[in-house]
């Protein structure tokens, strides 16, 4: 292969003031590289973020993104089964991967001296992945086991899966589970995985994030040397499928072997990059973040109606889902708990939070943000998520500024717009005494 010239980094971006983020794109194939030098520990976090997730699947083939993530650890022509993990551990590192709707992420956290090993292993599995039929089937069984653990035998997982299907529709890319429907997983073939890999696992759909005790120029030289030979592959740009408005509340009952009734509600929300997503996140903290939050205090402490109350909003690119989970205490009613929760939502939409309440949750959010930035892996994760989902690798700091600037009026507006006015999806979980 002909020599190609080393690309230059763009002027560094400030990463929270104290650190600088260096970014570039390989001209040969469009691979993006982000390097965050951070000498606070002699370690490095190497993360490969691929812009492919369960939203890129099609009905009948759900779960293929996640299954492929598993297959990526099963060996290549150069490194047989188990060798990838063994070499990383021999180097004192740990590795794992995760898949969600919008992305798939692989990471290795290793001593800084082991960067070359990680680069070689990552490039190798992009180039020469090879999984036998027997290994494919065995790993598919492992994924089936994972699904049993997280969904079939888990009331939270089963309800959550149903909620997304109701809120987005079973044929919408955000409506099917990233794990895949059980029947789909069991029907996936090695040919499916190979085709999916060829379509999506290409450098122009990926970003490498390197954070830790490294020198940016040296990382660039090594990454360029290793990855420049990988060819780009082109695929149709993923487009947000049209989603009709939810006209009225959708309601389902889920019977499950669980000791007490539960209720799970979901509302469609803004995409992760939108400012309203940050406002909504803060509003949910006011409602359920910590023991002094409104719903925890009212429903768990004062009324003792529920044992658990949680709200969250997912960081999806196209649209999010905010959810409310109430798990009743024995002999108590979810109806009453939900009625009080609704009352609190209306109160927040009407009167908004007090200044003290707003300040309290901002402090809480700031603490969580700092905690997430303690390690090289934590920083790399924020860079990768920001780059892939919002287009801005420093989005975490943009979001922090947005959170700090949220006003009581913002909270009122967003709670009304996303949690009070629109209809929701609602699942009532009823304890089942039967065997199914």
């Amino acid at each position: 292969m002909a020599r190609s010239s080393l690309p230059a980094f763009a002027p560094p971006l400030s990463f929270g003031g104290a650190l600088q983020l260096h970014a570039t794109t390989l001209p040969e194939n469009g691979l993006r590289l982000f390097v965050l030098p951070d000498q606070s520990a002699p370690v490095v976090s190497y993360q490969t973020w691929l812009k492919v997730g369960s939203r890129d699947e099609s009905p009948g083939k759900t779960g293929i993104s996640h299954l492929l993530e598993h297959l990526m650890f099963l060996g290549t022509k150069r490194h047989p089964l188990g060798e990838f993990d063994r070499l990383i551990e021999l180097a004192g590192g740990e590795n794992n991967a995760s898949t969600w709707t919008d992305w798939t992420q692989y990471h290795e956290n290793v001593p800084a001296s082991e960067l070359d090993l990680v680069i070689a292993l990552e490039v190798d599995r992009l180039e020469t992945l090879g999984v036998s039929e027997a290994k494919f089937q065995s790993e598919r069984d492992v994924v089936v086991s994972e699904r049993r653990d997280r969904v079939e035998d888990d009331v939270d997982g089963a309800a959550s899966e149903l909620l997304f299907a109701m809120a987005f529709g079973r044929r919408h890319p955000y409506g099917w589970p990233t794990l895949g429907w059980m029947r789909d997983i069991q029907g996936l073939t090695r040919a499916d995985a190979r085709a999916y890999f060829r379509q999506h696992y290409a450098p122009n759909h990926a970003a490498i994030v390197v954070a830790g005790a490294v020198e940016p120029g040296e990382v660039l030289r090594r990454v360029h040397r290793a990855y420049r030979r990988l060819p780009p592959r082109f695929r149709p740009e993923a487009a947000w499928p049209s989603l009709g408005p939810m006209k009225k509340e959708q309601r389902r009952t889920l019977r499950f072997r669980t000791p007490t009734p539960k209720v799970l509600c979901g509302w469609r929300g803004p995409g992760y990059a939108e400012r309203d997503h940050a406002v909504l996140f803060l509003a949910l903290q006011i409602l359920t973040g910590g023991r002094s939050s409104r719903l925890y205090r009212s429903l768990v402490r004062e009324r003792e109606l529920v044992q658990d109350v949680r709200m969250s909003v997912v960081p999806f690119e196209w649209a999010s889902l905010a959810d409310l989970w109430l798990s009743a205490r024995e002999g108590k009613s979810t109806e009453e708990a939900l009625r009080l929760a609704d009352r609190e939502l209306h109160a927040l939409a009407t009167k908004g939070p007090s200044e003290a309440e707003l300040e309290k949750v901002k402090n809480r959010v700031e603490l969580g943000f700092l905690g997430g930035m303690e390690t090289a892996a934590g920083k790399a994760e924020q860079i990768g998520l920001g780059a892939l989902v919002t287009g801005d690798p420093c989005h975490a700091f943009v979001r922090l500024d947005e959170l700090r600037a949220v006003s009581a009026a913002d909270v009122r507006r967003v709670v009304r717009a996303y949690l009070v006015d629109p209809p929701r999806a609602r699942i009532d979980v009823q304890p089942s005494r039967g065997r199914a």
């Binding site: 089964l81 082991e114 065995s138 086991s145 072997r257 007490t260 910590g290 024995e330 402090n363």
Partner: protein, 450 residues
């Protein structure tokens, strides 16, 4: 890495303070450990220490629990309590600028808790609801069953959570007595990690700890547990499962036992990571279970060594048999030279990740101090691991791990051939069964008690 330091001192009242200064981020992790836990629960009142811990984070005298929660969270703080057999661990974090008022709140509540009847009533109902909610958590239920089955009438079988029978019996006087007897300078350890130095922390701690009682009776050590011979299966029946939770246990090791470090290395190779034997064979080769692993417990007395997996109901007998065979082979033959070298390399080189945050650097120091171990116990971990040999591991395994005396808990759904197939496990001495909801009562039928 500038500005980092590691300091330890003792306050005038005799409370040790361990500090890890790291100014990289404006936050401080706070830990307070009390040397009293579930082993100090009065007879028949399991869960007392946990309820005391709950009330010790509910505000000082004259302050409502609501006001306490509000104040802690308004400072950008978190504060929670965890109770084990030998200790209560209060941990949290706070924005560095608010450290002083945060310490005032949490230490005030810990040293002079309100201990109000109303709060106890609420905490009791919360604890009972927690037990009910845990009926959804199959792994927790199996682990609970395993401890009861393995330890029988020994105090290590007790659940710090208490039971549906014991919690209603707990009185305010029990909490007051426990606090008065055990919360004093000799039982307290304080740890701080993050953007804080001794110059700023010492005056605050001196003031807040100036009235801490000088007494604090140590909790008597538990007797040595005994291992019953034979392999005994406890089947925990829970309807509508698609998979089983398999947990297998035997006695492990004392923390001060010379075998401890060799066994840490051996366990790492057996079930401590993605490349360990259990994961390799049970998951990667057979596809039985998404997760498979083992854990070496260690305490003042021999704690539990456990292994786990969650196969489908159909695969459960074969998976359980395989796990037992792997255990036998490991316990009898130990590790090969290549496997040991791989594990040592991992443990030595990965030590950098045990020290990449201030809190991670603090935690092993606190644990060593809690157990009265020399600082080198953890600080010298890497050197100890490097020196361990194949014969040392084999000797340690033969001395400590007995694969012929096992408690095997299988949580699954009866009605298929599952129980019948489990009877074919080699060396099986007994198979008993319990309905999963009985676990909440804190007692299972135990042949040794009859």
């Amino acid at each position: 890495m500038s500005g980092r330091s590691e300091i330890q001192w003792v306050t005038e009242r005799g409370v040790p303070v361990l500090l890890e200064t790291d100014p990289a981020l404006p936050l401080v992790d706070v830990a307070v450990i009390l040397r009293v836990g579930a082993l100090a629960d009065p007879a028949g009142r399991d869960g007392t220490a946990r309820l005391l811990a709950r009330l010790c984070r509910s505000g000082a005298r004259g302050q409502s629990s609501r006001a306490f929660d509000d104040a802690v969270e308004s400072l950008g703080g978190t504060w929670s309590a965890e109770v084990g057999h030998g200790a209560m661990r209060f941990t949290g974090a706070v924005l560095a600028k608010n450290l002083a008022p945060f310490l005032e709140l949490v230490l005030g509540s810990l040293l002079a808790p309100g201990l109000r009847h109303a709060d106890l009533g609420e905490a009791r109902r919360e604890a009972l609801a927690d037990l009910t909610a845990r009926q959804d958590d199959d792994r927790w239920l199996a682990a609970r069953a395993l401890r009861m089955h393995l330890f029988g009438s020994h105090p290590y079988a007790r659940s710090p959570f208490g039971s549906s029978r014991s919690i209603p019996r707990i009185r305010l006087a029990d909490l007051e007595a426990l606090h008065a007897a055990h919360v004093g300078a000799p039982s307290i350890l304080v740890g701080l990690a993050g953007a804080v130095d001794r110059r700023s922390a010492a005056p605050i701690l001196e003031r807040l700890l100036s009235r801490v009682p000088l007494h604090g009776a140590p909790v008597p050590a538990p007797p040595p547990p005994t291992l019953r011979p034979g392999r005994r299966v406890l089947f925990v029946d829970k309807p509508a499962r698609t998979q089983a939770q398999v947990q297998i246990g035997t006695l492990g090791v004392r923390l001060r036992d010379p075998s401890f470090h060799p066994l840490v290395v051996a366990n790492q190779a057996f079930g401590g990571s993605i490349t360990s034997r259990l994961m390799r064979v049970v998951r990667t080769e057979r596809g039985y279970s998404y997760a498979a692993g083992s854990r070496l417990g260690a305490d003042v007395e021999r704690e539990a060594f456990t292994m786990h997996a969650h196969p489908s109901l159909a695969d459960t007998p074969a998976c359980t048999r395989l796990m037992v065979e792997l255990l036998e082979e490991w316990a009898q033959r130990g590790l090969g030279a290549r496997e040991l070298a791989q594990t040592q390399s991992y443990l030595v080189k990965s030590h950098a990740f045990e020290r990449d945050t201030a809190l991670k650097r603090l935690e092993p120091r606190l644990e060593a101090a809690l157990h009265g171990l020399p600082r080198s116990f953890w600080a010298g971990f890497v050197e100890r691991v490097r020196r361990i040999s194949v014969p040392q591991i084999r000797a340690a395994l033969r001395r400590a791990i007995d694969p012929s005396a096992l408690s095997i808990v299988v949580l699954g759904t009866s009605g298929s051939s599952l129980e019948r197939d489990l009877l074919r496990l080699p060396g099986l001495a007994e198979l008993s069964r319990v309905e999963y909801r009985e676990l909440a009562q804190g007692r299972i039928r135990h042949p040794a008690d009859e």
